[in-house]
Symmetry: C2
């Protein structure tokens, strides 16, 4: 009875607050706050009493209140094209792991390659007063840029790298990846090299890769050859590319660079079924190094993006900006990552 009769507050979660702990420990509430944030500044005697009170009351700090009071919550928002895609998940995973090791939480949203959805996500995230924000790529709406600029917090663009951008960038040059693939095939002696694009609208990075390919072709005195599938799903699009480019009677493609491994994989399956010898009759190069790529027959030659590294390094840069860890030198160079061309059987 008596313990229940304590005048209950009109609102509130009913959970113990920092004041309850302070009262139980016989200290000021600010000391409890320090006990969590700057333990070194609290004497051993008080620390002990506070620890006991915390335990007996099952105290859990209210992070929202803390964030409100300190104007920035220990939260970082991340907008990624899609969570369940074969590659971005690794970035999310490593990013989240590094952050949570330092007491920051990940707030996640997906844009499905739509800059408008990205804008909506950024807008919502800012409502949480996040400590930092991560977006994918360098293509955003005007309003997103405006929001990012006025937010006055660290912003990182991942999965791309362009010189002289305003925000921190952690990624690689898609343009150079396109060049890399084209050079590789040219060196192998292929001439009739096509580039099969993605039917997903909004994947601007794939366009950059295509342009890198095109420029290398022109340098070599060859005409770039673009194929834009009309099929909706990657599976159908890859098949369509294979049928259109490699199975034509005259002037068939000797090699095809695909916008990603999904397309390339379905092309290999289609080719296999049609009895096309790969790479002799048609060489295939992908992008992404998805899990299945090494298991195909022929195994897929592809370019591996540093997905996990991107997440890790982005998190580190943010923690540096936030003063959580000492700053690295030569950040500029560290942020520009390299992709690896994995030479397998298909090219």
């Amino acid at each position: 009875m008596t313990q229940e009769s304590e005048a209950r507050k009109r609102r509130g979660s009913g959970r113990a607050t920092i004041h309850d702990v302070a009262r139980a420990a016989g200290v000021g509430s600010i000391t409890v706050s320090r006990y969590f944030k700057q333990p070194a500044q609290v004497s051993a005697a008080l620390s002990l009493r506070i620890a006991a009170a915390v335990k007996s009351l099952n105290y859990l700090p209210n992070l929202a209140a803390g964030g409100l009071a300190s104007t920035h919550a220990r939260i970082v928002g991340m907008v990624i094209p899609n969570i369940s895609g074969p590659i971005f998940a690794h970035t999310i995973q490593s990013f989240s792991d590094v952050l949570s090791a330092h007491g920051y939480q990940l707030l996640l949203a997906s844009s499905y390659f739509s800059v408008e959805q990205e804008e909506a996500a950024v807008r919502t995230f800012l409502g949480w007063s996040p400590a930092a924000l991560v977006v994918t790529g360098q293509y955003h709406t005007r309003a997103t840029v405006q929001l990012l600029n006025t937010a006055n917090i660290p912003v990182v663009e991942t999965w791309d790298y362009q010189p002289r951008r305003k925000y921190m960038q952690v990624g690689f040059s898609h343009y150079e990846v396109g060049q890399q693939a084209a050079r590789y095939l040219l060196k192998k002696g292929y001439k009739r090299i096509a580039f099969a694009q993605n039917s997903v609208a909004g994947d601007e990075s794939a366009i950059d890769r295509r342009d890198g390919y095109a420029d290398i072709m022109r340098e070599a005195g060859l005409e770039p050859w673009f194929f834009l599938p009309t099929a909706a799903t990657p599976f159908d699009a890859g098949k369509q590319a294979m049928e259109t480019l490699a199975m034509r009677k005259r002037h068939a493609a000797e090699a095809i660079i695909f916008a990603n491994d999904n397309l390339a994989a379905s092309a290999i399956l289609a080719g296999q079924r049609a009895g096309i010898r790969m790479p002799e009759q048609c060489a295939i190069v992908g992008f992404g190094d998805y899990a299945m790529s090494s298991m195909l027959l022929p195994s897929l030659t592809t370019i591996r993006p540093p997905a996990k590294e991107i997440g890790e390094i982005a998190a580190m840069r943010i923690l540096e900006s936030l003063g959580e860890i000492p700053a690295s030198k030569n950040v500029q160079r560290l942020n520009l990552l390299q992709c690896e061309l994995l030479e397998r059987e298909s090219a």
Copy 2:
């Protein structure tokens, strides 16, 4: 000068607040709050003025403050074994999509199949006063259960289903999946059927599947045959299982059920290299239906878990509990999902 000379607050983000909007619109701040939360309760005239003020001030609601005042933030925490895994990502994606359509944000953490890491994540999440919490599976630490119980918010366990659990469950019975695989192979006439486990510690669900398999074997008067790989990576473990079980001289396995498709895939590759005819010499069944499974040679017969559906339905149940959408009937039955056995070439 004059516009800058407005006495600046000592603290704060510098962003416009609800009071700024109220002043600009000539209304009380609570009316602005209502304008966002219950637009129907605000007259058209005031709504117009508020809308203008919001726009001109670039007002963005501070969600942390709102969450603090209303004791529950529009946030839902989700703990998942791993984000970058081949199947959970789909659950995350669909869960996040449904939630964000209703103005809830996803706070994500991974446990790596460790109940201790799960506990830590739950603890942190609770600090945000989330509207609801989602965990994976039914195995938790005592402290986690305690936290979940006292949190007094909707809790959903995903990726599993056991009768008479305390929390809402959205998933399927791993035990029945194990039974399903065993029955399928027995029906095909296989007798010497082994189960290759996962070397990842903490994957309790895989144990449930194994037990389902074992019981069906016993029912059929056959001895269950467990193989526990020592190899660390799934790739090596699958290969090891194949070599140990199917390539032995005498009494080799006629069929192997693998704890997941990663193991099964590497087994198929190893078998292929060793010239083992599948399924004639050894049939293979996986679990998960990962992206590469249909691309293998032979394509992998596997059991597809309803990953996307789990995320969707979990989100719906939460939104129902929160009163955001009308409640469904027969929730009990709806939450028990079925896995589909995909009959392909390997078994």
